[in-house]
Amino acid sequence: MSSLSRASLRYLWRHPWQLVLAVLGIALGVAVVVSVDLTNESVRRAFDLSVQAVAGEASHQIIGGPSGLDETLYTQLRVELGMRDSAPLIDIYGKARASTLHVVGIDPLAEIPFRGRFVKQQDAAVRTLLSTPGTVLMDASTARRLDLSVDDRFKITVGGHAHEIQLVGLFGSHDSNPAALDSLVITDIATVQAISNQPGRLSRIDLKLRNDNGTAAVLKRIHSILQPGARVVDAESRSHALLQMTRAFRTNLTAMSLLALVVGMFLIYNTVTFAVLQRRGLIASLRLLGVTRGQVFRLILGETLLLGLIGSVLGLLIGFTLAQGLVHLVTRTVNDHYFVLTVGELVIMPWPLLKGLALGVVATLLAALLPAVEAARTEPHAALQRSGIEVRARSLVPRLAMTGLALTLGALVLLVLPSRSLLLGFAVLFLMILGLTLMSPLVVSWLTHAVLPLAGRLFGIQTRLALGGVVASLSRTGVAIAALMLAVATTVGVGVMVDSFRSTVEQWLSSTLRADLYVSAPGLSTIRPEMALDMAVLERVREVPGVAAISTGSQIMVESDGRLIELFALGLGHSILPRYPLKAGDPGQVWPAFLANRGVLISEPLAWHQRLTIGDLIPIHTDTGIRAFPVLGIYYDYSSEQGEVLMQRSLYEQHFEDHAVSALGLYLSPDADLQRVIELVRDATLDTQYLMVRSNRTVRETSLAIFDRTFAVTNVLRLLAVIVAFIGILSAFMALQLERVRELGVLRATGFTPGQVTGMVTAQTGFMGFTAGLLAIPTGLVLAEILIEVINRRSFGWSMKTVVSADVFLQALALALVAAILAGLYPGWRMAHTPTARALRQE
């Protein structure tokens, strides 16, 4: 080791707190990015694997409308067309022993070309599956988790009905990722048709078509026997369409993590700058001793590289731990809103880890580049005085502000561009943040000059000195304030966005949920009543005294223009009028036309995604083929981000062979007692299926609870950004104050008491915190507006009213102040208690 490196290391060793905080700052920045990346990748891979495990080797799939396919299509395919490479499949979700299970019904005799692993070396079990209905296979780890062994019987609940089934075998998972097979239950088609009460129906038929000239001819023959509503799709594009549903959600998560990295980068920059500036004496001495500029430059960079590496590796570890928590939050959100994903395992992939490592090291190096150049450029004699730097830094402030202004203007230009690109939206967001941040030192300087005379007159010389110090060492205070401002602005922006979103949803819920009671069978997704109600339920409920009118609802997934969207079939009882809040359309015209089945209504996100407006036709794959429905109006909806079509029940039944109803809305007579009616409904349906009977209020509360759950991830990330900022501020402010030991020593020598010195330090950090908090408010509001009007809109198509509460501002100010004052405590205490002589000796 060279004496240079030794000198450097010894310096770092003597400032352990700074070292720890610098490493921690880098580590947390990296950790946030890595954890979100790992989580996203895990969810995506879990999805891929679970799709693959069930999709198998299929090249194409025949899929039907919402009620699936008529099973006779399979007979035709095999007997008339002799299509041997075809396999029927029906899949459903059920609950057993508090776990959600994906139950897949297959024909074991047709499986080998597709999902051979389930039936290979399973002859005895396959014979049992075939000959004994109610028998199933699963993989060993799922069986262990459910505490089941072969031959055990257990209960599975599907759509409120419990069925007893028996585990008769375990299929091997040695040849693949066990996560793919987790929660998968394989059984014969007959069993699934029975427990899901869908005799005669198939979810799909898998095909394996060779990729050659003959394929077109084969497809043509298949098309000739397809029932209306059924069609052949490319297996890959189908699963792609499913995954696409979560794209916007995942993009937003990634953006949040990038935001954390940006904050992290600021702090890394801050830390490194300090490390360099503080050593300017050491560097000057080294230069005087004959150390070249190149050596100084390399020394600084090498040292930073080491810091970056240690911090990044630590960041990977923290990120990994963090991801384990995040993956559950994200899986829950995916299950709440998109599709049932039974895999919650964190998969460690090299790519996100490498990316995090590279990001941490590169960010650190970039942050160190400027200070390193600065240090290398330093003339030995100049390095011994600080003022040179500060003079240069102050002359830089207006230039930075100009750059910031230019960036802000650039962001505004991008904003008015007629674009729907989400990427561009994020560009606007980041440009705006960067622009506003760059302008902050100038504003700090103005602000300080503005309050300086007043503060001096009001609070005396110490305050005047304290505030003057902020401007005097703007090269560092500026960066520290900017970093704190950015962190606080992020929490303000995200907070305002979430608040606005929540209040919009709350308002929307109260105007949409009109019935007094809602009845549904427990579905698998928390908010979607997807399971069909028994026919008897409707009849029984109708007889319950106190029920004045009933509306029915049925939610299904349909395809439109290659996208999967939701369709809500609304059956209105007598004297109930639909009252969905409309975004576009005159209620006086829209609702009569809707009731006359002249068309459908579409939700705001759907209108956004498919660029539809009133009068357009929306194509929908129905059981009778593709049909185009006129759009009568656009309504607000926050329940589905892929979009929803609202169709009247009678119109729905013309186009879909589906008479199932998945939810009932009960309107009670004015004198009815809510609790009493709930009990009566429960009693009347006791012998049908397990039902959820919920009051209007419960549904509203449940919906909001899911909303809050969805944003739990956001809040976690927001919190992390604040922690990263806090640590950075702590290290920056501490370094800043520790550096002033000599200056304060002089003050002590001139008669300042320890209390006065502490007060001065606190006043300075407090002022910086206050300034950061103050600047964070407008910046946060701008951020919130961009999130609401650009990011959310372009991701999901939702519009929402901005709601700003005073709380958010108070919180921002408090956060910034507390962070800053806390950061000043230790240096203040230390300086106050340092003997004056030692303080003056400095190094």
């Binding site: 095999r78 051979g116 002859d123 000959s131 005669g200």
Partner: protein, 379 residues
């Protein structure tokens, strides 16, 4: 510093080997073949709940052409010798098996539920190219995928089928990506009940027997398409129908079965059951059918069969491959030769089923003919 290169080479070789191994493993994937073994199909393990072939039976046609699902096993067994106008020979075997997995069939809301499985073997012998192509399929008798019915007669497994198209005329369709059989079959002899009025005992245990009838001659006309070349063919087929619950005894390992169509209008069916110790079981039996369809039962000791030559299968078994068959009481003596040695079906139950020719004498008069031989239990 040479060794790292070797290491790389070794590593690459190992990777390649692993990939090859996995690829081979995937190739060997066929249908879940071990749906049944000889033991499953014909052994006398637990048979409770099934009907048994344990007494005389009044056969009724066409009803008995259909399925008898209360018995464990059943088959519709077509074999035939065909030739094209240019003299090119083909042998074909087309058989549909019905196998009950459980004696009882429960009432179930799904039409897919079934206690039965159908299996089919389709093989073509092409001595001109010295090739033997065989396929095995499974399906279930549910939602019309497979089944058997008597009026009109039809037995099918997906798009492989034999269907009665008019009175006394059946059509057979079987195709795979590289071969297709489309035949029209017309019985020229009446149904022949084998054994004791159709009850064919396989050993001394009552119930270890099958109900067994044949249509020994069906004139056959149609096309054989192989590798996209279609040959118009004519010839003769043989239908064996048999259903049972258990047949072989514990000490019986397999059988040699002969169905021979003689140039003088006679047909001969004979099987001999082989025991573990290599001896021929006394329950071996056969039937000689005269040109008018009159039958004469043959017991094991009425016939002598001498193996003149064997064939070693590369899959392991050694099969008889030339026989001298004599029926002294009828002054019959002939030598039977497979039209090609390899006619082994490597399916879930490996066996040999092949077209044969023979020459010999009956009552001092030269006879020739063709037929089919089935050899099981030689693995």
């Amino acid at each position: 510093m040479q060794y790292p290169i070797y290491l790389v080479v070794v590593f690459l070789a190992a990777t390649l080997a692993a990939i090859t191994w996995m690829a081979v493993d995937m190739d060997s994937a066929s249908e879940p073949a071990v749906m049944l073994t000889v033991g499953d199909a014909l052994g006398d393990h637990d048979s409770s709940g099934y009907a048994r072939a344990d007494g005389a039976r009044q056969f009724r046609f066409p009803d008995d052409h259909g399925a008898h699902p209360r018995f464990r096993n059943e088959w519709w067994y077509f074999t035939g010798n065909l030739s094209a106008a240019n003299g090119r020979r083909f042998g074909y075997q087309f058989v549909i098996f019905r196998i009950a997995l459980k004696p009882e069939s429960s009432i179930h809301p799904s039409r897919w539920a079934s206690n039965q499985v159908y299996m089919s073997h389709f093989a073509l012998t092409d001595p001109h190219e010295q090739r033997f192509i065989f396929h095995e399929r499974f399906s279930r008798p549910a939602i019309g995928l497979a089944g058997a019915q008597s009026q009109p007669f039809r037995v099918w497994l997906e798009n492989w089928s034999v269907t009665e198209v008019s009175d006394n005329k059946w059509e057979m369709h079987a195709s795979t990506p590289n071969m297709r059989l489309q035949l029209e079959l017309q019985p020229v002899k009446p149904v022949v009940l084998q054994g004791e009025h159709g009850l064919s005992r396989k050993n001394s245990t009552p119930g270890n027997a099958s109900y067994y009838y044949s249509i020994p001659r069906l004139t056959t006309h149609g096309t054989v398409t192989i590798d996209e070349v279609t040959h118009t063919v004519d010839g003769e087929s043989w239908l064996d129908r048999e259903w049972s619950t258990s047949a072989l005894g514990v000490d019986q390992v397999g059988w040699d079965w002969f169905s021979l169509q003689l140039s003088n209008g006679y047909d001969l069916m004979f099987y001999q059951l082989r025991r573990k110790d290599g001896a021929t079981d006394p329950f071996s039996s056969g039937t000689l059918i005269d040109p008018d369809g009159q039958t004469e039962s043959l017991r094991g000791n009425d016939i002598s069969i001498e193996v003149l030559k064997t064939w070693q299968s590369h899959r392991g078994g050694r099969y008889p491959s030339r026989w001298r068959l004599r029926i002294p009481s009828r002054d019959m003596d002939m030598v039977i030769r497979p039209i090609q040695a390899d006619q082994e079906l490597d399916v879930s139950v490996r066996y040999w089923e092949g077209a044969v020719d023979f020459t010999g004498q009956q009552d001092g008069v030269e006879i020739t003919g063709h037929g089919y031989v089935e050899l099981t239990g030689y693995e």
